[in-house]
């Protein structure tokens, strides 16, 4: 299947790799903290690549020094939303950057149906293409 390789949505960092273990996540968080970035945990059940604004799970965590606190929050989020996409974001507040610097998925639904391609025929035999997630046919919260 070309549209859904490995049955895994690929977006953000490390998404072509097997799911990260907690030790690997901790190492990534440590790297981000070392750079002075603030980390936050976000979740969604709409995997469309253009869905950039995910729900925040708690406020972004500023002033943390150790990865354990963030891992604790990730695990809380996993417990609350076991079948959602959960990602960890790192935000750099350096003047002139002021934007996310890292983003990677740390939790996925058990079954990811992937995307379908919708073709719309318009004037002059033109075709418009739309990427449509099968999961979003159902209402929010019942998708996975």
């Amino acid at each position: 299947m070309m549209t859904n390789p490995n049955k895994m949505v690929t977006q953000g960092q490390f998404s072509f790799l097997p799911p990260l273990t907690d030790a690997q996540i901790t190492a990534q968080i440590k790297y981000a903290l070392g750079k002075g970035w603030a980390l936050s945990v976000e979740y969604t059940d709409d995997p469309h690549p253009r869905n950039t604004y995910w729900e925040m799970f708690g406020a972004p965590m500023f002033d943390l020094k150790d990865p354990a606190g963030i891992l604790m929050e990730i695990n809380n989020c996993r417990k609350t939303f076991p079948n959602h996409y959960i990602r960890v974001m790192a935000f750099s507040s350096v003047r002139g950057v002021e934007s996310p610097t890292m983003s990677y998925i740390v939790n996925r639904p058990k079954n990811e149906p992937g995307f379908g391609l919708v073709r719309q025929e318009t004037a002059g035999r033109n075709i418009r293409y739309t990427i449509h997630s099968y999961a979003t046919d159902k209402p929010e919260g019942e998708r996975y």
Binding site: G58, M61, D63, L64, K65, D66, P67, A68, G69, I70, M72, E73
Partner: protein
Amino acid sequence: MTKPDKIDIQALLNESHINEVLDKLDQDLVGLVPVKQRIREIAAYLLITKARLQLGIEAAKPSLHMCFTGNPGTGKTTVALKMADILHRLGYIRQNHVVSVTRDDLVGQYIGHTAPKTKEVIKKAMGGVLFIDEAYYLYKPENERDYGQESIEILLQTMENHRDDLVVILAGYQDRMGTFFKSNPGMSSRIAHHIDFPDYDENELLEITKLMADSMHYNLDKPAFNAMKDYIEKRKLQPHFANARSIRNALDRARLRQANRLFNDAIKHKKDTTADDLSLITEADIRASRVFDGGLDAKKV
């Protein structure tokens, strides 16, 4: 893989560099002999436990939560910082940081406010030491709907579940901490080390005066020292005496008076000011304290 049956304690001690911390503790802190003794004991215990862990004799890390009791100004916070240093050097905590909080930082103002607030603080302290000053304020027996209890329960949970990530140090007056533990037996049983900080005697306070003045680059001449001795004797009998903190405040006020005196000498009397003048605190600077005419209460009458 076979485990080694020997371990070099000396090498372990050298690589952790805790002797430096302990020596510095001895130098920087006046008196507090029983406290220093206890900290040496704890450091030795931690070192041996580390050796046992390496040889596979011991499986679990020891409980490290502590309680410091003592009157105000006896060095509880200072020792907590040193303790974090020791724990860090021995590898029991990952970060050499102390997050110092009081009731205000942990307990919320309305229902549902406490848990996120406490968790926030715990997240910040993760990997290091959480120092809770005046910990007995968390529990208010006279108000059964007080949110402090909720905070205590969350703390207990983390102290148990995140033993590898967080060391909690509680601090407070001895009698009040006693009542606190009596009403929270769960807390008491999770704390392995209770350290009591004795009050300083007069000679120790005088020595502290010297150390503090040195660190601020001031000198006290002989009569000033004698004045300080009288001051300490009198101040000890007055209310709100806070050991080393009172000495710090007394010195700060003496510096204020000294600055005022130098300023007047230079402007009104056109005297030259030398470098020695700038760092000298005289008897008059100390004798001018209101402690000598009966303290706070006497002034109001």
